[in-house]
């Protein structure tokens, strides 16, 4: 009963913080929530124009624009959640040093508000792929890849947000780390375009099956299901372990902030 009450409190609390994040993020903005679609759309357009000139126009008969749009939809969720999380506890210093609150609510709010973005961009992706005629939906693969993406994002968010409380270098380091990760993950190119001697890097990267799975759940491209299952189970277990570590570190947040 206590666990149920805690979960209900967390769910509504994270919603409150997500609402605050969403409302303040676009306060004073002319285009408002349209930016949620505009950002991945512009990235996908720029990339596909550049790549179409140099490389190919389709991947497994899917237009390159849609291929990269799918990649960017998930990638932007991943990057923005992690960069916002890294700064979130420091930005909410006033709340943390004056209230004995569960700080995971702040992180939950960040993740949840970015989930709203992901929902909107995914919906946009589905609409565009239907119009183009390349829509091929696999609900199980979609659920699995989104859950795995969520778990991995939560793990990294907990590490960087707590780490940034103790060492502010983390928020600078995370930008470099994400830059490297961007090129080590098949977002703007298919795995088939990666030279064989570099494939081991992509195979070691847990984001590879997640991003490939997300794309394959909406577009008709090939995908290996097995590795995603492992990532899903492992990331769930790791998320619980890292949550326990986060709660331990949380006790000293007020002193370091």
């Amino acid at each position: 009963m206590k666990i149920y009450k805690t979960l209900v409190y967390f769910w509504f609390g994270a919603q409150t913080f997500a609402f605050r994040d969403l409302k303040t993020r676009y306060a004073g903005s002319l285009l408002g929530v349209i930016w949620i679609i505009l950002y991945p759309l512009s990235m996908a357009t720029i990339t596909s124009v550049v790549f179409a000139l140099a490389f190919q126009k389709t991947v497994e008969n899917v237009p390159f624009f849609l291929y990269t749009l799918a990649g960017f939809s998930a990638w932007i969720f991943f990057v923005q959640t992690i960069t916002s999380s890294a700064r979130s506890l420091v930005q909410n210093r006033d709340i943390i040093i004056n209230n004995n609150m569960s700080t995971e609510l702040i992180l939950g709010g960040v993740v949840l508000s970015r989930c709203v973005d992901l929902t909107i961009t995914t919906f946009f992706l589905i609409v565009v792929s239907r119009i183009v005629g390349t829509f091929s939906f696999n609900p199980l693969l979609f659920a699995e890849s989104v859950l795995a993406l969520l778990f991995v994002t939560c793990i990294i968010s907990m590490i960087v947000s707590a780490g940034n409380v103790y060492f502010r270098d983390v928020q600078a380091l995370i930008d470099i780390f994400l830059n490297i990760l961007f090129y080590a993950t098949p977002i703007i190119y298919p795995l088939s375009a990666v030279p064989g001697r570099y494939l081991w890097i992509f195979n070691l990267n847990p984001l590879t099956p997640i991003f490939s799975g997300f794309r394959a759940s909406i577009l008709p491209v090939s995908f290996d299901f097995l590795s995603l299952n492992w990532i899903l189970i492992t990331s769930f277990i790791l998320m619980i372990i890292f949550f326990a570590v986060y709660k331990y570190l949380e006790k000293k947040f007020a002193e370091f902030l």
């Binding site: 409190y9 605050r20 040093i97 004995n100 006790k251 000293k252 007020a254």
Partner: protein, 338 residues
């Protein structure tokens, strides 16, 4: 029944030290200097209990450690030594407006602040109504907080904490902002809700302290001055020159001039103003007691000046060397037992 007997907040020998790290750690490292953090002791061996239905007021100068005690009570800070036992849920207003957001409306801010205080979702609507009513912001409830005055923001934050259904309420300078009407409403509501809660609050307002508190703790340099003597010493030390302090004589060291139980008056003067034959009040290191002696001799040498004193009733062994640091004030008159 159990929580009627057990205190809701219990400090057991609690001490807290802050480590202030050097700001230029990399430069120090490159220059081969050690990065030694500065240790500041903010709470020392605190022991107290607050039961349900009790209001404790913390009083002391700025920087004395009052807010640290509230943060330790809230569980925001962890003690280095000792233990803080909390038996119940906590609402705290330690900095007015911390947690409220300028872009959100009054109503949205109530939800946000109540979430921060740990209020479950199903209690939210009742709390909203009470907080709106009490803070008197009904006409502004759908207006962004950035258009609220400082007083309105303070009223809103205080109202949410007051009406949150928690066992423990911690208020730091909660009534520092707000007009006379709000102050009256605040005092009335505190009296009303006190039977269900353990309340600790800080204030610089002696009147409020006396009106609301069941117990007052004087806080100085992270210590609770518990005994009458400690409180008397603290009061005399904090007085400006020219002010007087009245107290009761507790020993016969100045018999027959002053007897135990006599009322005496101590005038705060500069150490340089004392003369041979004066009766002075002073303290000795590690001895929380006001000592009264007559000045036998004075040696003036700038900062190293001192005087030799003895009690009228004493033998030759009771002679003290008193410096400006130990000196409290001059005894100016005495009256008979009061």
């Amino acid at each position: 029944m159990k929580d009627k007997i057990l205190p809701l907040i219990e400090f057991i020998d609690v001490s807290k030290t802050f480590l202030i790290r050097p700001t230029n750690q990399l430069r120090n490292f490159l220059l081969g200097k050690k990065n030694v953090p500065l240790k500041v002791s903010v709470s020392r061996h605190l022991n107290f209990k607050v039961k349900r239905g009790e209001i404790v007021g913390l009083y002391g100068p700025n920087g004395s450690g009052k807010s640290t005690i509230l943060r330790l009570a809230a569980g925001i800070l962890q003690p280095d030594f000792g233990k803080v036992v909390r038996r119940g849920s906590i609402a705290s207003v330690l900095e007015l407006g911390a947690g409220l957001h300028y872009e959100l409306t009054g109503e949205e801010n109530i939800s946000l602040y109540a979430t921060i205080l740990g209020i479950p979702h199903d209690e939210m609507s009742g709390l909203k109504n009470k907080a709106i009513e009490f803070s008197g912001i009904r006409n502004f409830i759908n207006v962004p907080l950035k258009y609220f005055s400082t007083g309105m923001r303070a009223r809103l934050a205080t109202a949410i904490a007051l009406f949150a259904d928690t066992d423990i309420l911690l208020l730091d300078e909660a009534i520092a902002i707000g007009d006379g009407d709000f102050r009256e409403k605040f005092m009335r509501i505190i009296k009303k809700i006190k039977k269900d809660k353990a309340i600790i609050f800080t204030t610089h307002d002696i009147g409020l302290l006396q009106y609301l508190s069941d117990k007052v703790f004087l806080i100085d340099h992270g210590n609770i001055l518990n005994t009458e003597n400690e409180i008397a010493i603290w009061r005399i030390q904090s007085m400006p020159v020219g002010k007087i302090f009245r107290g009761k004589v507790q020993s016969n060291s100045m018999y027959p001039f002053l007897k135990r139980g006599d009322i005496l008056t101590i005038l705060k003067t500069r150490f340089s103003e004392i003369r041979k034959g004066n009766i002075i009040a002073f303290i000795l290191p590690n001895m929380p007691q006001v000592i009264l002696h007559r000045v036998d001799d004075i040696y003036r040498n700038g900062n190293n000046s001192y005087c030799i004193t003895r009690g009228d009733a004493s033998t030759g062994l009771d002679v003290w060397k008193v410096t400006g640091n130990d000196y409290l004030g001059k005894v100016i008159l005495n009256s008979s037992k009061g």
